[in-house]
């Protein structure tokens, strides 16, 4: 996870305070599914609340905004078939 002491300035896109979200992969789930550790494509890890996505499982990608997963992405295979 980026260092919270860093500023958003210089970033081309503020992922926290806008209507934007990012896809992260669930790496571990704890506390009965309430919270998880997720990793982005660059290997940054962050604590993510999973209370809104009871179908999240390790290895699946979730859409995360402001520290909360909003949905579980369809798998690449199922999405490609659409």
């Amino acid at each position: 996870m980026p260092n919270p002491s860093e500023s958003c300035e210089g970033m081309t896109f503020c992922i926290t305070c806008s209507d934007a979200a990012e896809s992260l992969r669930v790496e571990a789930i704890a506390e009965g599914g309430a919270v998880g550790t997720c990793v982005d494509s660059l290997g940054h890890r962050s604590e993510v609340l999973l209370g809104l996505v009871p179908d999240a499982v390790v290895g699946r990608d979730v859409l995360v905004h402001a520290g909360v997963a909003l949905l579980v992405h369809a798998t690449a295979a199922s999405e490609a078939s659409r």
């Binding site: 996870m1 980026p2 919270p4 002491s5 860093e6 500023s7 958003c8 300035e9 970033m11 081309t12 896109f13 503020c14 992922i15 926290t16 305070c17 806008s18 209507d19 934007a20 979200a21 309430a34 494509s41 962050s46 604590e47 609340l49 209370g51 809104l52 996505v53 009871p54 859409l63 905004h65 402001a66 520290g67 909360v68 909003l70 949905l71 992405h73 369809a74 690449a76 999405e79 659409r82």
Partner: protein, 379 residues
């Protein structure tokens, strides 16, 4: 990268632009509003407008949550931050938004303990690590962000954290859209709907735009071809005489939204009777405050706030920009007195703000394009 590269493919974009050109009626002017700051950012960053015919106009709406916060609420946050017992936490962009008494960055420079966080959960962790202090999270954002704040409050209660408070400035997207539709200032043909808000609320809340006002809505993703395809879908609706809510962002947005998020929001928040929006004035039932059951976490009750309404600087035209009445470059102080380094208005602060997005990405393309247009006109 899958689901990114194909939505930034130049050849696909050019092909889509040809289809759009073949769809529009050259005798008609089309005006569509994107209500989400993320779309505004994409439009300027990738030059989406350059792929549209000149009679298709994109208008930027009040979809940047930082931009719509009035100056008085910033002053309220600064007043809390000046309390030596308080650690005030907020997202990065909020730190630079000017209030009537300066910005949170300036308050921090003057000694206030103001910290940037990436999520409400970060703020809760700061509270748990500093139990001799009170930690306030300055919460902004639409329905995308509000569930994060709500879940964090529920977690604070479950973990018996007594020194965590939320200064809620969460807003909802439908009331300002309705206000814009009722505004005599603006004539719009359609809306590009906010993709990630809809992951929470779904498509249903936007059906009134088609049913009551006869205007198409297409919920859009955030890659450049997402926005371009959404514009095409809108133009197809208008060409066919249809008026519907369509979902371009099906790979992410379920039509019904996220029911669990609805439940959490209903548990923790209630609608404010009215709330002031920068540029739009007071709008009924357009913002969220903590429900009485969570009053122990309500920073406004814990600390009290000045609650003084502050008029925007006279030179600033953020209000007109947020309503889509003028473009960023038509503001009198754009790029001169007001820049991302020294913003006067909120639209120049956030990277999602129309003025900052245009300043960072659009103005150079416009400068390049304008001489060509002048050259063609004189030949």
């Amino acid at each position: 990268m899958k689901f990114v590269d194909e939505f930034r493919n130049a050849d696909l974009g050019a092909a889509l632009a040809e289809q759009i050109a073949a769809t529009v009626d050259p005798r008609r002017h089309y005006k569509m509003m994107e209500v989400c700051g993320g779309h505004t950012h994409t439009i300027y960053r990738y030059g989406v407008a350059d792929l549209l015919p000149p009679n298709v106009e994109l208008v930027h709406g009040p979809g940047c949550p930082v931009c719509v916060i009035p100056m008085g609420r910033v002053d309220d946050a600064i007043a809390m931050a000046r309390n030596p017992r308080v650690i005030l936490t907020c997202f990065g962009d909020m730190m630079r938004v000017p209030g009537g008494t300066g910005s949170l960055t300036e308050a921090k420079a003057a000694g206030a303990d103001v910290r940037m966080v990436y999520s409400p959960l970060d703020a809760l962790r700061i509270a748990q690590a500093n139990q001799d202090r009170d930690v306030v999270f300055f919460a902004v954002g639409f329905e995308t962000t509000a569930p994060s704040t709500a879940l964090t409050i529920l977690r604070a209660r479950a973990e018996r954290t007594k020194n965590f408070f939320v200064f809620s400035n969460h807003v909802t997207i439908v009331p300002p859209i309705r206000a814009l539709l009722e505004s005599p200032d603006l004539r719009l043909d359609a809306f590009i709907g906010p993709g990630h808000v809809c992951t929470v609320v779904g498509a249903r809340p936007f059906q009134f735009i088609a049913a009551d006002y006869g205007k198409p809505v297409v919920i859009s993703g955030f890659e450049p071809l997402d926005v371009l395809q959404s514009a095409f879908m809108i133009l197809r609706q208008l060409a066919d005489g249809r008026c519907e809510v369509e979902n371009q962002y099906k790979r992410v947005v379920p039509f019904e939204g996220n029911p669990a998020a609805f439940r959490v929001l209903a548990d923790v928040f209630e609608l404010r009777p009215h709330f002031e929006w920068r540029g739009l004035g007071f709008i009924s039932q357009s913002a969220l405050k903590l429900s009485p059951a969570f009053a122990d976490f309500d920073a406004e009750l814990r600390f009290g706030v000045p609650g003084v309404r502050v008029a925007d600087p006279k030179a600033c035209q953020c209000g007109e920009v947020l309503k889509g009445v003028i473009k960023p470059w038509e503001c009198k102080v754009f790029g001169t007195a007001c820049t991302p380094e020294h913003p006067i208005g909120t639209c120049m602060v956030s990277s999602e703000g129309a003025c900052a997005a245009y300043y960072n990405f659009g103005r150079l393309a416009r400068r390049t394009r304008e001489p060509r247009v002048a050259e063609l006109a004189s030949s």
